[in-house]
């Protein structure tokens, strides 16, 4: 049988990590928001940002799942390419399905005017003017991006082990420090936030090619990874 499909079937057995846990987390957060909305009687507009939990979760899921399944798959003589392709396909499919469900919630939220209690959980403030298709695209691209971000970091570990992680995080730390210092020194923080406020749509668009770059980097590292 097709080995890549075999890898996907392997992931599909772990429905908790891929599907149940993220939705339990996000729905729990949503329920909390609804409760608060109910308590305040809908007089306050609630924008909690709890939706971010599902995007953070898929990042973590990608990290963990790769660490757990790569040594197992290789032990069953799966090619690295098939592992990469099967796992990536699973990540993209789960992201697509999640994006559709998020959009349905988002539409319901819109129609019910914040679930009757002014809770804006699935629609972020800037989304008011964006078509359903655009929202679907945003959910999807952010999620795929987070998935491959987790995947590429996990791949650094697979390929370069502890040393790789150390170098990566040390470099990241230095880069962040320099950037923070530079922004403060040149008084650029407000400009940065201003730029974000005006260009967030560009950021979403750019997430797609960046995710592709992560994926390519991941494959380049996975190809040379050992047990």
């Amino acid at each position: 049988m097709n080995r890549m499909a075999g890898v996907m079937k392997m992931h599909w057995r772990d429905k908790w990590s891929w599907i149940f846990i993220p939705w339990v987390v996000v729905l729990f957060s949503f329920a909390t928001n609804l409760t608060i909305g109910g308590l305040t009687g809908g007089e306050e507009n609630i924008n909690s940002g709890g939706l971010s939990s599902i995007f953070i979760y898929i990042f973590v899921c990608s990290l963990i799942v790769q660490g757990q399944t790569f040594p197992f798959a290789l032990g069953l003589n799966v090619r690295r390419l098939d592992f990469f392709a099967g796992t990536s396909a699973m990540g993209v499919l789960v992201s697509a399905a999640s994006a559709v469900v998020l959009l349905l919630f988002s539409l319901a939220e819109e129609l019910s005017d914040g679930w009757g209690v002014s809770v804006h959980f699935f629609n972020l403030p800037f989304m008011d003017g964006i078509s359903p298709l655009g929202r679907l695209g945003i959910y999807f691209v952010v999620m795929v991006h987070m998935f491959f971000l987790g995947f590429v970091i996990a791949s650094i570990y697979r390929r370069f082990k502890r040393t790789g992680m150390f170098v990566f995080f040390a470099a990241l730390f230095v880069l962040m420090s320099v950037a923070t210092f530079a922004l403060t020194y040149f008084n650029l923080w407000l400009d940065l936030f201003g730029w974000f406020a005006n260009h967030y749509m560009d950021i979403f668009v750019w997430m797609a090619p960046i995710a592709v770059v992560y994926a390519l980097l991941s494959y380049a590292m996975i190809r040379r990874a050992t047990i």
Binding site: G6, G75, R224
Partner: protein, 298 residues
């Protein structure tokens, strides 16, 4: 004879440390091989390279006539069961077996189910919750039921009791008789498997120490037991690999075949001759004192 594995001057180094040094051997079709040696000798490293889980630092490696790396034609014909295999925490035994069924083209579900019963495995239990012995049993079931043309077992039975180990040997031999394939068995329990092995490769310190048919090894060395003075005189000039004196008695193990005349002569002097078991021979060869005597064996 078809060559299943061809290894030529294989090397593996980690930085300045050499783990495998100029190892060459071939594995032929439909035989049971024993890959033996002490801990850290490099057995697992070699098997990892054969299955492309590790990369060689130098040398040539061919499996089924091709490079195994990222090669499904080779990889799908192998099954490698190792003691250190990791399983995803959330998987149950049933999950592992179902995935194996998907991935191994020759998988025999009926055989797998029979083995589950034989080893009394709780298929619904999570891998994380299994005892060491049960974990080993899962590996053994995957290795046997996958019926891969090249099946490699690396210390497959850590934590298994004697009954379960026997079960493994029995099932392996039965199934091997019905579905011939090439088996590489790496183990410390040499005595237990020595009757099963058709060919023995001994690795020590990353080098091949011995590569011979098991039959020809069985008559390769003898232990002479008798009065100390007599034995000492008898052993003089022979290749001594081990000696032990208890009181006035002495036992001396020597390498080499003995002719019938030599045997009669020894027995006439009151010396008792017993063949050295494969395990003893390998212990002698790899215990450090006799390193480098391989050449003399041939």
């Amino acid at each position: 004879m078809n060559r299943i594995v061809e290894v030529n001057r294989l090397n593996k180094t980690y930085g300045s440390e050499t783990v495998i040094q100029d190892v060459s051997f071939t594995i032929e079709e439909n035989k049971i091989y024993g890959l033996l040696g002490r801990n850290g000798a490099g057995k697992t490293t070699i098997m990892h390279m054969i299955t492309a889980q590790l990369f060689p630092s130098g040398g040539e490696l061919k499996v089924f006539g091709e490079h195994p790396y990222e090669n499904n034609r080779v990889l799908t014909r192998m099954s490698f069961i190792k003691e250190s295999q990791k399983y995803p925490d959330v998987f149950r035994i049933a999950d592992v077996l179902d995935i194996a069924a998907d991935l191994y083209p020759n998988w025999d579900q009926g055989f797998a189910e029979q083995l589950i019963e034989d080893f009394r495995l709780p298929v619904k239990r999570r891998m994380k919750k299994l005892s060491r012995g049960m974990l080993s049993s899962v590996g053994i079931i995957v290795g046997l039921a996958s019926r891969a043309p090249l099946t490699i077992f690396d210390e497959p039975y850590l934590g298994l009791d004697a009954v379960a180990r026997n079960l493994f040997y029995e099932r392996l031999l039965e199934d091997y008789a019905e579905h011939p394939r090439t088996v590489i068995l790496s183990t410390h329990l040499i005595d237990e498997v020595s009757n099963m092995l058709e060919h023995v490769i001994v690795i020590d310190n990353g080098k091949i120490l011995l590569d011979e048919e098991a039959d020809s090894l069985r008559g390769k060395a003898f232990t002479a037991v008798g009065p100390a003075a007599t034995v000492r005189a008898w052993a003089a000039g022979k290749q001594l690999i081990h000696e032990e004196a208890i009181g006035g008695l002495m036992s001396a193990s020597v390498l080499g075949n003995l002719s019938a005349a030599e045997r009669r002569e020894a027995e006439a002097q009151g010396i008792e001759l017993v063949p050295v078991s494969l395990q003893q021979l390998i212990v002698h060869l790899t215990s450090g004192k006799t390193n480098g005597k391989v050449a003399e064996l041939g």
